[in-house]
């Protein structure tokens, strides 16, 4: 302690707590500034240059941003694809996760085994999952079309069809609903039993219990799950790279794939950085919108 400056030694308990707080978070803060904050700011600076990732690096101001919105014929398609994938996959994913969470919330023997089984896909490697789904959607020998054939339906060619590639990717995204299911399950188990008891006394049936008790009480959790999923879905990359490579044509070309293509294939690091910042703004706006909407739809339980 003697090594500390005098003004650091004669501190009030509150000042000491503040000092300790900053000392404790210092390692994280240094890591954040060096490995996250720093690169984030640097990427913005790069976005104002024509850096190739190699030696060419001239200041171009907002030219990359202007080109994205006025010259690049792909960018509109890329944004639309990202938006379609993001919204549809999140909508279906949250509904599916909620449905499974409701099933997993039943008091039946061996339920913890089922919970583990449903969560298990989430711990497998993303690339391995993508390859596996490539096999599942194989037009000729895949399981999906084989099941459809049982009902007399000729399955589509999925990832080689510009009509079916995006629906295929969205279906694949449902494989990763395990974590959301666990969060929603925790939310369901936190709903007080007395609310259901009161609803039953009032004559509510199961559906009314679900719409008037479960959904309102679960709404903060649903909101959290939706926001987090939306942020993740707007950054879809590996499934696109492995399953469709952005095609056929531009049918599944989403923003992060296009960004990767520009940065690491086309050597347009400055342009790709501008795309990354556009993605950041899009996600921020979407999140802000969701918070605005949530004011009317999310029920927070207040009080002691």
């Amino acid at each position: 302690m003697a090594l500390l400056p005098k003004q650091w030694r004669n501190l009030t308990p509150q000042q000491r707590e503040t000092r300790d707080f900053y000392l404790m978070i210092l390692p994280w803060l240094i890591g954040f500034v060096l490995f996250t904050g720093g690169p984030v700011i640097y990427s913005f600076i790069i976005s104002l240059t024509n850096w190739t990732g190699m030696n060419t690096r001239d200041w171009v101001g907002l030219q990359n941003y202007v080109e994205l919105f006025t010259v690049d014929p792909l960018f509109g398609t890329v944004l639309a694809n990202t938006f379609i994938y993001g919204t549809v996959s999140v909508l279906l994913g949250v509904i599916a996760a909620l449905g499974i969470a409701l099933l997993m919330n039943q008091k039946v023997p061996g339920i913890s085994i089922f919970r583990a089984i449903y969560y298990l896909p989430s711990v497998t490697s993303g690339i391995a999952i993508a390859i596996m789904w490539g096999w599942m959607f194989n037009p000729r020998s895949g399981l999906v079309n084989a099941v459809l054939a049982l009902f007399g339906i000729t399955g589509p060619t999925w990832f080689t069809s510009s009509q079916w590639a995006m629906p295929g990717l969205i279906l694949v995204s449902l494989w990763g609903i395990g974590p959301n299911m666990i969060i929603l399950l925790a939310g369901l188990q936190g709903i007080p039993q007395h609310l259901y008891d009161a609803a039953r006394i009032d004559g509510a049936n199961r559906w009314q219990e679900f719409t008037n008790v479960t959904l309102p009480m679960l709404s903060p959790v649903l909101f959290y799950v939706t926001v987090i999923s939306l942020i993740g879905s707007f950054q879809i990359f590996e499934n696109v790279l492995v399953l469709t490579n952005g095609g056929p044509g531009t049918a599944t070309r989403v923003l992060v794939f296009d960004l990767y293509q520009n940065a690491f294939v086309n050597s347009r690091m400055g342009y790709a950085s501008a795309q990354a910042w556009i993605l950041c703004v899009v996600i921020m706006v979407m999140t802000w919108l969701m918070f605005r909407i949530s004011r009317r739809m999310v029920h927070y339980e207040h009080g002691a």
């Binding site: 190739t52 990732g53 190699m54 030696n55 060419t56 010259v71 014929p73 194989n138 037009p139 000729r140 020998s141 060619t157 999925w158 990832f159 080689t160 069809s161 510009s162 952005g246 095609g247 056929p248 044509g249 531009t250 070309r253 293509q261 690491f264 294939v265 086309n266 050597s267 347009r268």
Partner: protein
């Protein structure tokens, strides 16, 4: 007595000083660390012992140089090297695919090798195929040197030809012969008369030369700033190949997705295919049927086929460029190429004098000499390789070709799309 003692002291001093000097000199030599050269390569594990053997022999010849090799996967290497460059962490020597030579020379990754080549006449740069050297020249200077320059020939499944009682392709074949045989050897959905280039019709790079050139077409002009798909020759080539696909003689997108690319190639479902020389080791190891190669058939505009290759460059961040050149000049010498790629069958050497070692290797096909004949007489480098916008234009071509392969757009639409979508990219670069 005093003089004697003085003389003795003087001699002792001299001997001591000499001994100290000698110790200092030898100590200096021993204390000096050997130069460490770092190489970034992409060899698969089965080929790494050959690299290690070459490096061991090199280090024995040059005990003051130590070799350290970093192995990337082929797919990652092109993205990793620019990242190293940005971080100032480039190795001394990097594997340089032909498509990367210009971007990496223009981007300051690869160093100009002209002065080294001029100062080392025994390296015999003239012994390297000019078509191969050209791929690594930027603004009139040599920035990398090739080790392999692969040519596309016509590969064929001897078993399927034998079963059908048909004669093997030979040097008399025209594209009409190929069409006739491809249709005769096709069984819809099960067997394809012509598998294409990696199970598809290739419209750019070396494949673009082989698939469009026989009709006088090409994907790019000489300066690589205009696409030529709308020319009469290119259109004729497109129509030839896509009519074969429509007739079930070439696998379409759904066929490839259903069967898996490698499966079609190696399980004998293709009667013929476009066969680059670098693919011969994989066929040797994986193909469960008898196969060989024939010259690329002649088209209405003559016989022409595409070639592409790979090489190495010394990076601008190398701290030991002289030692790096010493290594590279031995690695890419006749003996080096024979040891590394020729005798092992791993690749067709870019030196005429080393080529025979590959033809004689166990992995080369029976008529491998046709590759040498093609290199000497009718090979053109695939484009793009000299423009920095090349990858972007390739992306445009590939996007539209996936639609063409899936039957979602016509040849006319394909041509219109690629011409329109490539225009702003070319314009930006100009």
């Amino acid at each position: 007595m005093a003089n004697k003692r003085k003389l003795h002291f003087s001699r002792t001093l001299q001997v001591t000083l000499i001994a100290i000097f000698a110790l200092l000199v030898t100590g200096q030599v021993f204390a000096q660390d050997p130069i460490t050269l770092t190489l970034a390569l992409h060899w698969e594990p089965s080929f790494q012992p050959t690299q290690e053997a070459f490096d061991q022999a090199f280090m024995e010849r040059h005990p003051d140089i130590r070799i350290e090799v970093i192995y990337n996967t082929w797919g990652d290497h092109n993205a990793i090297v620019p990242t190293w460059a940005a971080a100032g962490e480039l190795p001394d020597i990097v594997y340089t695919h032909g498509s990367r030579a210009t971007p990496w020379a223009a981007g300051g990754i690869c160093a100009n090798l002209d002065s080294y080549i001029e100062a080392t006449p025994e390296f015999d740069v003239a012994g390297i195929f000019p078509v191969a050297l050209a791929q690594y020249q930027y603004q009139g200077s040599q920035y990398a040197l090739p080790y392999d320059h692969g040519v596309i020939l016509l590969g064929y499944n001897k078993d399927l030809f034998d079963a059908a009682g048909m004669a093997y392709p030979d040097e008399t074949w025209t594209m009409d012969d190929l069409r006739e045989a491809a249709l005769a050897l096709s069984i819809p959905g099960q067997q394809w008369g012509f598998g294409g280039y990696y199970n598809g019709i290739s419209l750019a790079g070396e494949g673009g030369v082989s698939f469009l050139g026989p009709w006088g077409g090409a994907s790019f002009n000489e300066t690589e700033d205009v696409l030529l798909f709308d020319t009469e020759g290119s259109r004729a080539g497109l129509e030839f190949w896509y009519s074969l696909m429509a007739e079930g003689a070439i696998p379409n997108a759904a066929d490839v997705a259903s069967m898996g690319g490698g499966q079609i190639m190696y399980t004998g479902m293709d009667a013929m295919w476009a066969m680059p020389s670098w693919e011969t080791p994989a066929f040797h190891d994986n193909a469960g049927f008898a196969w060989d190669v024939a010259p690329w058939p002649t088209g209405p505009a003559g016989r022409v086929t595409g070639a592409f290759g790979s090489g190495f460059c010394i990076t601008t961040q190398s701290e030991n460029p002289d030692a790096a050149w010493l290594y590279l000049s031995e690695y890419l010498s006749k003996e080096g190429m024979e040891f590394m790629w020729g005798s092992t069958g791993r690749g067709s050497p870019a030196r005429q004098t080393a080529y025979q070692s590959w033809i004689d290797s166990e992995l080369a096909p029976e008529h491998a000499s046709y590759y040498l004949d093609a290199l000497a007489n009718y090979t053109v480098n695939g484009r793009p390789f000299q423009s920095v916008t090349g990858p972007e234009i390739m992306d445009v071509i590939n996007q539209n070709q996936t639609l063409l392969n899936a039957g979602e757009i016509s040849i006319d639409q394909f041509i219109a799309n690629v011409m329109e979508q490539s225009a702003p990219i070319f314009a930006r670069e100009q």
